[in-house]
């Protein structure tokens, strides 16, 4: 299945956000993920399905100033 992650098309076996996070080796902390421009809390990742063409945005926490 093809989805878009930060506007880049990728092929994935993942069927929900949680498995996508593992597939992409996202860190355990400091990552906000949005589907269709809406943030999904980590506690809901497992229940959040992915389908063909889903737009996923991953934002990593930054600490500089």
């Amino acid at each position: 299945m093809q989805i878009n992650v930060n506007n880049k098309p990728i092929n994935t076996e993942a069927t929900n956000l949680s498995t996508l996070a593992s597939e992409l080796s996202l860190p355990e902390k400091g990552v906000a993920v949005a589907i269709n421009n809406r943030m999904v809390p980590r506690s809901q990742w497992e229940q959040t399905p992915l389908s063909e063409g889903t737009s996923v945005i991953i934002i990593k926490a930054a600490c500089g100033g």
Binding site: K29, M39, I57, A62, G64, G65
Partner: protein, 231 residues
């Protein structure tokens, strides 16, 4: 508004989003900037230029030569001097009509409440995660908008937290993220700090759609930008 003030602000007074009413709101506004480094420099300069009536700055750092590449408040002769004192001097030289208060101390959980209670808006110029949790927690408790901004290398992000539903803990609930490297080029905080200052103007003057419960990101390699709803 007297002639001098009308002249000083004439270019923004003719903007319908600001105008005389907005200018009066700016003059009455009290804004606290936490950290006057890379982000804090443009935030402070543009808010002072725009006529924010009271600007507070809190930071316990001194100017160092490696700051000058991006911290546009400072100059070579000030190396070794407390940042907030140099910054106050710079802002008062830019705009003597406003009040500038300098707190030469480090923000912590103990002094934040007392400090924040004297201001309407708190703006982020800090360089670490723990201070951002302190700002967010105290802003949420006191009901003060928190204009969040952070950078990493060639990337940055801005949000208005603690005004709608979202706080910093909504974005990054876990805490305990490792501190990141110090790599940065001066234009990153210029752009991100400029956006933070712009959010303050929007909140104070009440125009447009500020980033309440939304986060904006920019990648300066590709100019790819996202704005997502936090909740």
């Amino acid at each position: 508004m007297n002639y001098e003030l009308t002249k000083r602000y004439e270019r923004q007074l003719i903007l319908p989003e600001i105008g005389e009413k907005g200018q009066e709101r700016l003059a009455a506004a009290r804004v606290l900037i936490v950290g006057v480094g890379g982000l804090g420099s443009p935030i402070a300069i543009y808010l002072a230029g725009a006529g924010v009536g009271t600007i507070g700055m809190v930071d316990d750092d001194v100017v160092s030569i490696s700051n000058l590449q991006r911290q546009v408040l400072y100059e070579e002769a000030q190396v070794g001097m407390p940042k907030v004192l140099c910054a106050r001097q710079r802002l008062q030289a830019l705009n003597s009509e406003i009040t500038v208060l300098a707190y030469n101390e480090r923000l912590n959980a103990a002094n934040a409440r007392e400090l924040f209670s004297q201001y309407d808006i708190v703006v982020d110029g800090t360089d670490n995660f723990p201070t951002r949790y302190i700002i967010s927690d105290v802003c949420a408790e006191l009901g003060k908008p928190y204009v969040y901004g952070a950078i990493c290398g060639l990337e940055g992000q801005v949000a208005v937290l603690c005004k709608g539903k979202a706080t910093y803990r909504t974005l990054f609930p876990d805490g305990g993220m490792p501190q990141q490297g110090k790599q940065v080029v001066g234009v990153t905080p210029a752009i991100v700090g400029g956006v933070e200052a712009s959010q303050v103007l929007q909140l104070v003057c009440g125009y447009g759609k500020p980033l309440v419960d939304r986060i904006w990101t920019i990648d300066l390699r590709t100019m790819q930008s996202f704005t997502i709803d936090i909740q």
